[in-house]
Symmetry: C3
Subunit: 394 residues, 3 copies
């Protein structure tokens, strides 16, 4: 469904189709009426027209060139799209907090002049004034398109694929592939909503990736290193944003299972993200589950999901229960969020679908997750949300 | 003329054309040498290479999928383009002033220490210093492409069209359709230049729109609701940016007339924009007129345009007189701006045209409109401007 | 190689190919592993995944319409691309420093209240506190796509081409055409790295350009004026960013030579950029050289390059020596940077190439150039860098 625009090289110029070398324009426009409400005294609800309730909205350009001898070169440029208002989305340039979004820095100079007449001989009256300013910048409606979802160039052959640029990290795949809601919309697994997995939980910039070839009898795998690009000055932060991830799996018939490990360096504490996931397709239903164990400095986190997909005529019922528990080092009270999500997707065609999702999250021990922009004034409240949308791909 | 790039789904892959399902890349690049000058003592002129003097420059992607049974799904992503310098343009994410452009916020902390020796026992010398900072952010050359002109996904059938996303508001159409200058360039109608019609005068984000089908014997119409997406906390501003618009019309042969009404909520004062417009095509000339009555809180405004288009060989003469009067609540002096505009468009082809426009605006009672960047140091001065440009569409 | 996507107008609609009118999607994705190191005590190195080591990464849309009678209209929209992280790049809207990137402005209000009890009758104790804030804004990962590389609309005929918009300046071409490294990557000529050639050294916005037709027996040429677009208020800066450039050349067989002159006005000092360059293709090697003499206010600069390209099977060896000397007005010590660069490009196809470049720059008399993000804590140190990359065009 993403192959709708295929314009061939030399088709017009020479009249000869060259199926090996093509450029494809592709995308998804997914709009959803999203409702969310918080819990507790002073709770508030919110209605929005939002995006990406079923699949992530995007606009992309990609192509492949056959180099002969089983070799090929390819590129992939894919932008995130907020089709409810027309903005793009930010990316992260260095896998560190400084590489995301706009920033502003204020320099403040305060001069204080005190003319003091000593009321007692030899005793001065002093006045000191210190002014400190900081600023935050928001891009709001000015956010243009960036290829934040993926921007890569690849060389591939019988030995696999070498890929350079901004790409998904290996540690992300199990969370989305083995989530019935595909980490989109109000039903997204709690194992991705963890705040401890950091900047490279989903994607990394400045990455060099290697993918195993597709003919290994069901075995698949990838490894990736990514750079923080700091000058090697000997500072404690010189390796911030540098890391690696790896994923290996095995798929055969109805069965699919994969393991991923990752490490990213930061002076403030190394981030580790690990997970294992799998699915079994019984035909009448596809069962999915994954388990993740993460660490950010001294803070640990563990989560899991169990769910499934049930085909119903031209549609599909989706359901999942997911949980994440954060193990704070200084206290025995571990914040925990548990979500149950239920949804239905009705396919009008391969490209166009209507969908509805309901989800509810319960918070304990200081956790304060809210869904779809609802407001809970205090922690430990429940929150629920609904998506009602349309997904159109091209 | 916007159908120049039509790449068919499956054309290359299967060799079979599927005319129902297509993706179209389209756009307009319109560049104009723009001159403007203000009036009064200290007036200044300005020369610019500007854009969109005849038609709005844009780059877009759109497509339609035939779902069978008279149903179709479609998407439309259209970005504004400043082709004089390569930037895009901002959009507005929430139909409120906070949703446009970049912002920055400064937090200032001022600490004042006073060591005071009492000159009289029991009487202190106190010194208080308060420092307040605010900041404004400008994006300048960093403004990327956003789909600010339109970003929608639609489902259509014999019952009409349901459209979700960022789109024109119904209240805009009469002002542009019944303006010989199409609300572009130095000749743009004064009824659009009103400052009281607010954020949703042209477009709204987070909108849900419905359009009547095209087979109603000349009757046409649309209705739209749009959301401000604020949390429903009970605050006075909780519904800011929420509103609706509706437009109904009738077109038959040379005749076309339409009425539009709209309301948008803001705690600072509800915005109402209403207008009626029409045209009669006599063959040798097409006459156009519209009238608008608006309200923003306690401030009212009224305006009108009368103009026409005269075909001349491969070209067209355009002329319009428009006026807008703002009725300030606290005074009987109502600012008024009156504009006369005259232009000629010479079509080199259906896609490419040369054009020239001259306009002059007269200001009274405190109005201070200037054209094409001219500078009038005081209000109540006249200003004139010229566009000389080329429009190329694809 | 940039013609890979050619979708014809009316191909689908009418079944008739119209080769004259086409829209082309084109681009380059060039990724490089870039290493740089500085010199002197405390020097630091840096590893990056960078872009544009061989050719500038880009994404573009362009098209031409045949108007008949030898006339044509065309457009060209080309965005810069940082494919290592997915961002775009800023442009400059007014050929002045204010037109680039994001800015923020802080307004600070300081109120000081002093309650002073006169210790001596008639003598006040006064306290004055002044607080001044300034801020800088960075866009980081929020930078969207802009058509900063080129955004133009043209009208062409037997008399040449008239081009409006943002385009390369005439004064840039000799530096890149006659540089074996094409002003890209670690080997880029030092004559472009000059800090005195200013905002319009490579491109200008708001430009009107004229190009000689292609049938003048080897003679070629172009002239361009560009506007700063300031109001003509009589201020000293009213013409800032306004300027012109011109280039004439002659190419015949293996021989090519060209001269370019330019002037840009700024109240702070007029910028002049002038250069001459040429090449001779001996078949076994192509020799290239250029010489530039520039001026920015009272500061002068002079530089040159001598280098060449040697075809080797499916590849090419590249080598260049370049130098730039800045003649500061107030001192006889003239900063000088000298670079030697050596590289090899291996073509896998016309569209895809692997490349490696090594370069070293030596600094004297206060010059402090570093390559590929290396850090030299003091001036007058040497720096070296390596690019190892892949270039894929479409």
């Amino acid at each position: 469904m993403k192959k709708s625009l295929i314009a061939l090289a030399a088709l017009a110029a020479a009249g000869a189709a060259s199926a090996q070398s093509s450029v494809t324009l592709f995308g998804i426009v997914d709009a959803t009426i999203a409702y969310g409400r918080g819990g507790g005294a002073g709770a508030a609800s919110r209605w929005q027209l939002s995006h990406s309730g079923y699949n992530s909205s995007r606009l992309g350009f990609r192509g492949t060139e056959d180099l002969g001898g089983g070799m090929s070169a390819s590129f992939w440029l894919e932008a995130q799209l907020s089709n409810d208002n027309g903005t793009g989305a930010t990316t992260n340039t260095n896998n560190q907090s400084t590489g995301a979004g706009p920033t502003c820095t204020v320099a403040t100079t305060t001069t204080t002049t005190t003319t003091a007449v000593p009321p007692v001989a030899g005793t001065a009256i002093t006045s000191t004034s210190t002014s400190t300013s900081s600023c935050t910048a928001a891009i709001n409606g000015a956010q243009g398109l960036t290829f934040s979802r993926r921007s890569t160039v690849s060389l591939a052959g019988g030995w696999g694929e070498l890929r350079l640029g901004r790409d998904y990290t290996p540690q992300f795949w199990n969370l989305t592939v083995f989530d019935p809601f595909g980490t989109n919309g109000v039903g997204t697994t709690q194992t991705l909503n963890s705040i401890i997995t950091g900047v490279t939980a989903v994607r990394a910039s400045n990455s060099i990736g290697y993918f195993l070839p597709g003919n290994l009898g069901g075995f698949y795998g990838q490894a990736q290193v990514y750079m923080g690009e700091n000058a090697q000055t000997g500072a404690a932060t010189e390796d911030d944003g540098k890391g690696w991830g790896a994923r290996v799996g095995y798929a055969s018939g109805p069965f699919n299972v994969a393991l991923a490990l990752s490490r990213t360096k930061y002076a403030s504490g190394r981030v580790q993200q690990n997970n294992i996931g799998g699915q079994w397709d019984f035909g009448v239903a596809k069962l999915q589950a994954h388990y993740s164990w993460d660490k950010n400095g001294a803070t640990r986190g563990r989560g899991f999901l169990i769910g499934g997909l049930v085909p119903v005529g031209p549609g599909e019922i989706r359901a999942a229960y997911s949980q994440y528990r954060t193990d704070l080092p200084a206290t025995s009270v571990d914040p925990r969020a548990r979500k149950f999500a239920l949804g239905y997707v009705h396919n009008l065609s391969k490209r166009t679908a209507l969908y509805a999702t309901w989800a509810r999250v319960r918070n304990n021990n200081g956790s304060s997750q809210v869904l779809n922009g609802g407001v809970s004034p205090t922690a430990n409240q429940s929150s629920s949300g609904i998506d009602l949308g349309i997904r159109h791909s091209f």
